[in-house]
Symmetry: C2
């Protein structure tokens, strides 16, 4: 298994030539150029990630849910008690959480990882990945979340899990999180890395009151000022610090796990679909440590948390969904998996204008195809689903 330092030196950028080959192919398919919008962009990104066009259709996605607790809960930033983190981990294992239903629907496996839970997980835990680095973070308003060594160990947990899952045949990784209070450290990390003001990236998390939101924003400001004071920089210039230092000072153990998963996915050249603001805080740290990672990331959705938008803009990601979600667990990212698969499938299964015998547009800028590729529609595979009235339905049903 790769070590974190080793992984960071071995990362390669995505393959722009494969992306361009996919773009050229998209332009020949039987649709107006660009008419599939974000699906075409995504298909070409998948080609860049895999280094080939058409890219493989992801068949074995897996959601990795990193769980950790947060000392900052002592400041009153969430109405939920800390033990809900462990209880929700038990719920993932028992199959009763939102992520279980959504992963079931899209055909994704689930892995739950205790990387920093503070209280015992109730019930049977044989299937839990036990990789606890520390039983919850310090209170970031007054002390570092964790040591740099702990942050690196938690990142290594995520990296090793990514490596193992790809070895086992998983071909798409989805980030997920569970941690009561974790939108507070996420806002702090987002503010530190992007330079956006604390108040503009602090949101209502699970849906807190105006009063609690005020407390929460002040806590994020105090945390940023604490780190700035200790490093003798201004609170708006924290981005100059090393990203792993920001993670250790302001982050969370589950955020560190997500950083490792992003790096591991990029190392193994599989798409990493990113969930909401906690996952995006991890993605921000990962891309700050290694800019090559960004090309391997797909933003599953835009969370209602304002920090999510700050992080998406900073990394340069356009989210696939915007359904006003604010749950975490990987739910928004998992809901986007069928779009990822569809983007790859379009490149495999669509006919070209020439192969289908469809006339072009008089305004079209489509290049003529090579005469030596006279493929017939019949060679593109069986029709997936025939017209009725015989009730014919697709192979997937």
């Amino acid at each position: 298994l790769a070590s974190l330092q080793d992984a960071l030196t071995r990362l390669v950028p995505v393959d722009e030539a494969a992306s361009e080959a996919a773009d050229r192919h998209q332009a020949r398919l039987t649709k107006p150029p660009g008419a599939l919008g974000g699906i075409e962009t995504l298909g070409s990104q998948l080609a860049a990630i895999a280094g080939c066009a058409p890219p493989p259709i992801p068949r074995r996605p897996v959601v990795v849910i990193f769980a950790g607790d947060h000392g900052v809960l002592a400041e009153g930033v969430s109405p939920w008690p800390a033990e809900v983190t462990a209880q929700m981990v038990a719920n993932f294992l028992a199959g009763g959480a939102a992520i279980n239903a959504i992963a079931h629907e899209v055909g994704a496996a689930i892995v739950a990882v205790d990387v920093g839970v503070a209280t015992p997980v109730p019930g049977p835990t044989e299937r839990l990945v036990k990789a606890n680095v520390r039983r919850g973070t310090g209170n970031i308003a007054t002390e570092p979340a964790m040591t740099l060594g702990e942050a690196r160990r938690a990142m290594q947990v995520g990296l090793s899990i990514a490596d193992r899952l790809v070895d086992q045949g998983h071909d798409l990784l989805v980030t997920g999180d569970m941690g009561i209070g974790n939108t507070t450290p996420s806002a702090a990390v987002v503010a530190a890395v992007t330079g956006w003001p604390a108040r503009s990236v602090t949101g209502r998390g699970t849906g807190i009151s105006d009063e609690m939101l005020e407390v929460k924003a002040a806590v994020v400001e105090r945390a940023l000022e604490r780190v700035a004071d200790s490093r003798s920089v201004s609170a708006t210039a924290l981005a100059a610090l090393d990203a792993d230092v920001i993670l250790a000072e302001l982050g969370g153990l589950e955020i560190a796990g997500i950083v490792g998963l992003c790096i591991g996915g990029a190392l193994r050249r599989v798409p990493v679909v990113i969930d909401g603001v906690i996952s995006l805080a991890g993605a921000l740290v990962a891309t700050a440590l290694a800019p090559e990672v960004a090309g391997y990331l797909v933003a599953g959705h835009r969370s209602v948390e304002p920090g999510a938008t700050a992080a998406l803009e900073h990394i340069g990601l356009e989210p696939l969904l915007d359904l006003q979600l604010r749950l975490g667990e990987g739910t928004g990212a998992c809901l986007a998996i069928p779009l990822v698969r569809a983007a790859a499938r379009v490149l495999h299964e669509m006919a070209t204008f020439e192969s289908a015998g469809v006339s072009g547009s008089t305004e079209s800028a489509v290049e003529p195809e090579q005469a030596e590729q006279p493929e017939q529609p019949e060679q593109l595979g069986e029709p997936l689903s025939g017209p009725e009235p015989e009730g014919e339905s697709s192979a997937l049903e």
Copy 2:
């Protein structure tokens, strides 16, 4: 099979009591209230449509692609030749179009219907539903698209197909269209029904030039003025006309087929997932003829066509996706099917706070559950997908 007039009198509104029951259940599930955003709203709508909570998870979706040609093409509103309509129908039958790849991915069947194609469909057509009412419409800039009788026959085609598909076990209908030039009549119908100005609802369709867009907007204005003059009303007051008259004057045969499909889906109480601006033009006419239809409609996506946004606002639909699509065929609606299924599945498979033993929030407004429902997580079904490292994956793979 229901006749159109009969169907319009037999329609019933969606079941608000079932929707409220779903809302109450959503509030007890192991997530912060409302945290699944649009997925929760959709789940409750599905309950209202089916008249029960939880609603069935759609297992046999079907995309119905109505194809028709347009006399207005003579005005120079599209760079694509008319015969592409028939060629693309052949492409659907051969399995090479974008809708084939996307329907394959999401497990939807496809039905292609010739309701108004002008030229012969090349190649084998045994699986085409042949229901041609007229070989293309009149040029709406100068004459009615069709007679009122033709419009009603084309709506009846859509209604009968919906009825037959639901009889065959399909439990979710998706609207699709093919018709070179059909964003022009769609813009005209949208302008007439919503009262939005012609220029604000006329878009670039397949991606036309500034010059052609100018021609197109002027054509839409001329068409609206022609109808206004013939009925002695102002061009901004066309909404006062009967919706079937607007359809006959300004619409298309495939739009009429979609109107019938929407009414048929509502009659049979199955969700009808609506595609882009052509489908929305049909949905506008359907809801103008029978307001009860609106509750059965799910907007699959927001097309880049400005008329789509006008129609969505007018009907009161919030689209699930916004991926900058402008293709039609049902592609954007079909991409949304996994979201529809996920919304229903959440209501079937998630545990409640009580059943999962998860503590509540101190700010939570969740009602306590009835003591006589002490369900255990084990009773909610097998866990769908276990954590690794054994490579355990979900039942769907």
